[in-house]
Structure formats: C-alpha cells, structure tokens
Assembly symmetry: C2
Homo-oligomer: 390 residues x 2
C-alpha cells in the first residue's frame, strides 16, 4: 500500500464522485493488562497497546461493525483529518464516510494499527515494559494470526462480539482471510482485496531483498538504532523495491514513461536522469520519515509465513469453520497478488459451501489499484454490504 502522492504534486484529498468525508477524527488507544502470547510462543508482557480509530456510530445491537485492516505501510488513520492543519486525509479516505462504500451513516468502522506496527501500537519501536528500553530486534516474530488475535482482544475490550464484516487489501486482506479461518464464528462477511491466501515465492523474494537491504545497512546496528537516524538507506531501498512491486509496467509507463527529470538532458550523470528515478527516491525518503525499519522486518516476515492452506490442510478446510460470505477483488495488472490468487480464494470458499463473489477488475494501476480504483470498487461493495446486513 502506498501514498497516492505523485512527485511534484501538492498532496490532495481524493474526491470521489460519491459521499462525503468523515471530517475530523481522534486517534484512540486501547491498553491491555494481560500479556500477549504469540504463535511462536514468545510473550509480549503487559501493558501493551493497540492504537485505533473509529468512524460512524455503533448501533444498539452492535451489529454494524466493519473492521478495516491496513496494509504494510498503513496505520489506524484510515479516514478524515486530525486538524485543520492536516493536508492529507487517512489512507482509505475515498471509501469511508457518509454515502461511501463504508457508509458511516450505516456502519461503525474500526481501524487499528497492527501489532508489530509503528503507528501507535506495540511494536519493535516500543519500550519493553520490564527493561524500559526499545524492543528492537528482540520483538517477537509475528504471524498474521497474531495480528488478528490482537484485534480480537481489541474488539473484546470494546464489547464487540461479532463483526458485520472484516475488510482489507494486501496485508489487510490476509488479515481478513485469517479472520475467516480462525475466528469464523465472529464475522459475517470477509472483504479480501488484492491479496492472497498464500505468499508466493516471488512475493517472498521481493520481501527478502528488502529485508536484506535493511539489516545490511550498518546504521541498523542489529536493530538497536533508536535515538539515531537509523537504517534510512536500507529502509529506503526496501521501500523502493516494495513500491515497484505495488505498481505495474503499465502504471509506470502511464505515470512516467521515459520522461527526463531535467530540461537539459541527458546530464550524463549517476544522479536521477529520469522522472521515475526521482519518484522512487522521493518514495524512499518519505517512507523513512514515517516508518520504523524493525516494524518493516517483522511485518514483512509475517506476510512470508502466511499460508492458510498449508496450516489447515487445504484452503477450503481453512474456510470450513465460518458461515461468512466472501467478497474478493483482484486487479489485472497486480503482479504481486494476481487474479489467480483471488480465483483460488473464490474456489476454496465455494468448495467450503460459502457464498462468494470474485471481481477480477481491469486496471493498469498494479497492486495499488485496490486503493486507487474506488470508482470500480465502491458500487459492488455498497450492494454487497447492504445484502450482508439485510
């Protein structure tokens, strides 16, 4: 998942054809007083916390909750602005608000920063409650199952027993599928966008190349870089690799083609000569300002481990314990999680006897389409959610 800022553009709030923004929002934090045991057997002692935001109103019978799960570089700030000084709204803005897909006049939307993240939830950049020093590399290796189990604790704390739907794209979609597999009795609908039930060798290779760039940066210091600038070069490289994988050849062609960066070109230099190079540099630099390298390591590793079918002995078996309906969407130019991955989810859900739709959308925007193609996604999503809550 990436920003939609294009180099040289003034960041602007996307203005879809429908709906309104939720306006101003307030970040919230839930502190847990019981320790958290990870799938690997490690212990995250209390107190630990998840940051979250909510949009819309919880109804009387608590039946209108949509849990929104963010992607790798996302956070709890899915929609709206914190103040009048905010030039940018949350990462899922075009989808959340009155009249939008996640209609805040009907639904109560919750988005929490994942465990292991760096957007206010407990992660490697947090202080260990016993030692008072940063977790760093001592933070446990996590699974998508751990991230979801932490979300379950949040919902328990908020008194929410059942979700109308859980939704997410990319890593967020993995979480949505994990909900179906592990907490299937607590969810009525699963919205899995631009995602997979099984990280591929290609996805793992890209992920490993990024992690190696981070840990081979001497400024990573074995993970104990807090109080210093940190592995900014390594993290920027990881981001560049990731960003390329979120785009597509067509998207890069449309956006940049072979446009020069300077008027007088070529400059015969190793400095950026082409606009696409400057753009990637910008993406790398911007990312290190807001993201923790150790969180990147933990989250991308969790994505590598994700393989619902392997764990359950078949993907249909993984979906056997839920009555949830599935809404699956893929985009034609997404080479990270291609249409085939969505089709496998559809087939498995169908084999498990679940109601499922798969929209194989056409788009040139690559993996990021799930954030950008709100015009494609919103109409069927509005209908599907309406049928779910009917």
């Amino acid at each position: 998942m990436t920003d939609t800022v294009t180099l040289g553009d003034v960041p602007a709030v996307t203005q879809p054809a429908w709906g309104r923004s939720v306006g101003f929002v307030t970040p919230q934090v839930q502190i847990f007083t019981e320790p958290f045991r990870t799938a690997s057997g490690a212990l995250i002692p209390a107190p630990w916390q998840l940051s979250y935001e909510t949009y819309g109103k919880l109804n009387a019978d608590r039946s209108n909750v949509i849990l929104l799960c963010h992607a790798l570089s996302g956070d709890a700030h899915a929609a709206g602005r914190y103040s009048v000084h905010d030039s940018k709204a949350g990462w899922c803005e075009p989808f959340i608000g009155p009249g939008r897909a996640f209609d805040t006049e009907r639904y109560f939307v919750i988005c929490s920063n994942i465990l292991g993240g760096c957007g206010g939830s407990t992660g490697p950049s947090s202080l260990h409650p016993h030692t008072g020093t940063h977790w760093g590399s001592r933070f446990p290796i996590l699974t998508i199952g751990d991230m979801v189990a932490a979300q379950v604790r949040l919902l328990d704390a908020l008194g929410i027993e059942r979700l109308l739907a859980v939704a997410g794209g990319s890593l967020g979609g993995m979480q949505a599928l994990e909900w179906a597999a592990s907490w299937g009795d607590r969810v009525r609908g699963v919205i899995a966008l631009a995602t997979t039930a099984r990280s591929s060798a290609m996805a793992m290779a890209l992920s490993a190349a990024g992690r190696q760039a981070i840990v081979s940066d001497p400024d990573w210091r074995g993970g104990d870089y807090y109080g210093t600038a940190g592995p900014v070069n390594g993290l920027a490289t990881a981001r560049r690799i990731g960003h390329i994988s979120y785009l597509s050849a067509e998207a890069l062609e449309e956006k940049f083609d072979r446009r020069w960066q300077h008027e007088a070109s070529p400059q015969w230099s190793h400095q950026p000569e082409f606009a696409v190079e400057s753009y990637l540099d910008y993406q790398g630099r911007a990312f290190v300002q807001r993201f923790d390298a150790n969180s990147y390591l933990v989250i991308s590793r969790a994505m590598d481990y994700f393989d619902l079918a392997q764990r359950a002995g078949g993907l249909a078996t993984a979906f056997a314990n839920t009555q949830a309906r599935f809404f699956v969407a893929t985009w034609s130019s997404d080479w990270l999680y291609p249409e085939r991955d969505g089709e496998l989810i559809r087939q498995a859900a169908q084999a498990a006897g679940r109601a499922v739709v798969h929209y194989p959308f056409h788009s040139t925007k690559g993996h990021d389409a799930f954030l950008l193609e709100d015009a494609q996604l919103t109409p069927p999503l509005i209908d599907w959610l309406a049928s779910l809550s009917a």
Copy 2:
C-alpha cells in the same frame, strides 16, 4: 543474465542434446593506442583495452564472423574452459561449439567484454593511464552506442570489415540492435533475444533501486573503494533486485515454491526461513565476488539511456540504414522485456523493409529463458544462420 547454478547444486556444464563443447579456450586482449571519445563527450585516453575470446576459425574471405554480445553480468568468456580445473564453462556454452547454434565448424565467433565492464576490458576498476589510480566514479557515463563503437574498433583491429551476424540477449540484444541502427552496413544479420529497443519505466525503476543500494552503501566511498572490500552489501542488494527481475513468478514457484530452508521450520527468525531467501542470498554473495560495483552503475545507466526510436525519430527510421535481416525472440514469462517489446522490433524492421522473424516462445523461466531455453532456440537459429550465409 545470471548463472544457472542452483543453491546446493554442484555447478555443472549444461549438456544440450546437440553438439560438442569448444573445449579449452584462451582469453585475449586488444590494446588500443588511440583515445576513445564517448557519446557524452568524455575522453578515455589510450592505452585502453578490450578483452575478448574467439571460437572457431575465420574463413578466407572473412565472411563467417558472428559477434556475440554479453548481458549485464556477462563477460568475454562465452564458451569452453580455461583449464582442466575449471568446473564451469562460459556463459553461452550450450549455444557455441561444433553442431551447436553458433557452429564453430562454420562460424568464427567473437565475444568481447564491454567497455565499462570488469572482465578484462577498460572500465571503472581500471587504472587511469595518466594518474595511475583507479577510474572509479570518474569513469565516463556510457551509452550502448559507446559499447558498440568500442566493438567496432576491436573488429577494425582484427581486420574484420563485415559481420555475418551480431547476436545477444538482454543488454547483449540492445547492442545487436544498436549495431543495426549505427553500423548497419557492416552487419548482415541481427539476433536480438529477450531484449528491447527502448528501456521501459519499469526496467529503469528496478535499475535505479539497485544503483541506489550501491551508492548508499557507506563502503562505496564515492566510488573509491578499490583496495577495500567495497560496497558488498549494496551490490548484493542490487543483484538480488536484478535476479528477481530475471526470473518469473512461475520460475520461482517451480524452483522453490514455499519450501522451507531448514528441516525444523519455522525457526521464527529473521534469518532465511525459506529456500528462495537462501538462494537470493547466495546469488548476491556470489555476484560480489566477481563483479565491480562501479561497472554495475555504468552499465545499468547505459541500459536506461537506451531508446533507439527516440534518437532516430522512430524505430523504423533507426533501421533504415541497414540491409540486415532480423531474428527476434521473446519469452512469455519475461516481464522485464515482454513479448510486446519484441513485436515492436519486428514491426519496425518490417516497416523499414527488412526481413524479420519474431519467435514469441512460451517459457516459465522468465527473462533468463534466453540462456536456458537452448532447446527452443537452437533449431530455428541454426536454420536462420544457414539461410543468412547461403
């Protein structure tokens, strides 16, 4: 272009169904006593040199020469072995030898290391003849045209006026196309494999991410790292990115899928957990042993600049000054230089009135297919070369 060594395999000479190896070969060097002027206007003073190898015998009228151009990580050692201790033959071994596509009983094959390379030709790791110190980052920015102009000087020195064919894959294919565009009266046939006439924004993005990894490695030292280990981490990262782009999702799936690296898995560790990670690490480590980081910068930058159509005002115009016939091949899973790029070359050659064939081969092996699919490539190549020399 990459090694075909798979992690854990004993490196083995590919044994195609046809032909024999050229056996033992001797590296050669041509030293030039006139300076070389680059397209950027920079001067490489004499003496400078190109390393090269030859296979087969030059015929009496010097009409049987095939110039073979190597790809980014290649060198002049295309076939055969240097000694009985060599466990590995040259990078193009399955294609060169008696009875093979480049039949050394008919053709005289020349392969030279490109200008800017690090396989014996003058490049950034060479000593500047005036200062006696390594060129480093002071080595001029090059174009594909410069590399080819240097090859022309080599052929002049060898007394070879005309080529029967120029052949290459990837960067080597760019050189072959450059021959057609810039030295079209000196070549009868152009063999362009898994290549493009125009580097795409996607290819440039991957290339830029790799270069940034190198120059942001503190051990790069502004390019003056000779006598030290050099930017081994940055170069390994660049190689990992490159290597992923040379493979395909299918190739990675076939080779590794989600196979664990250790018997007792998961180990819940940031160390390689999956075989694909170990493989990439191996590729990165092996590459830094044999390749110069500054050469990587220069060569990948030259590839970025490559756009024959832009220079000539249309690709057909670029091919207007040659009578050469074209043999073009692409592979279905090559996402770096996809089938469309080969089709554009075919259309342009046809529009220029040239005889051209384009083989859009099916393969799961990605970009590297041009080195690996000798069974697909050899039969049509043998026929085409025979018709060319008829």
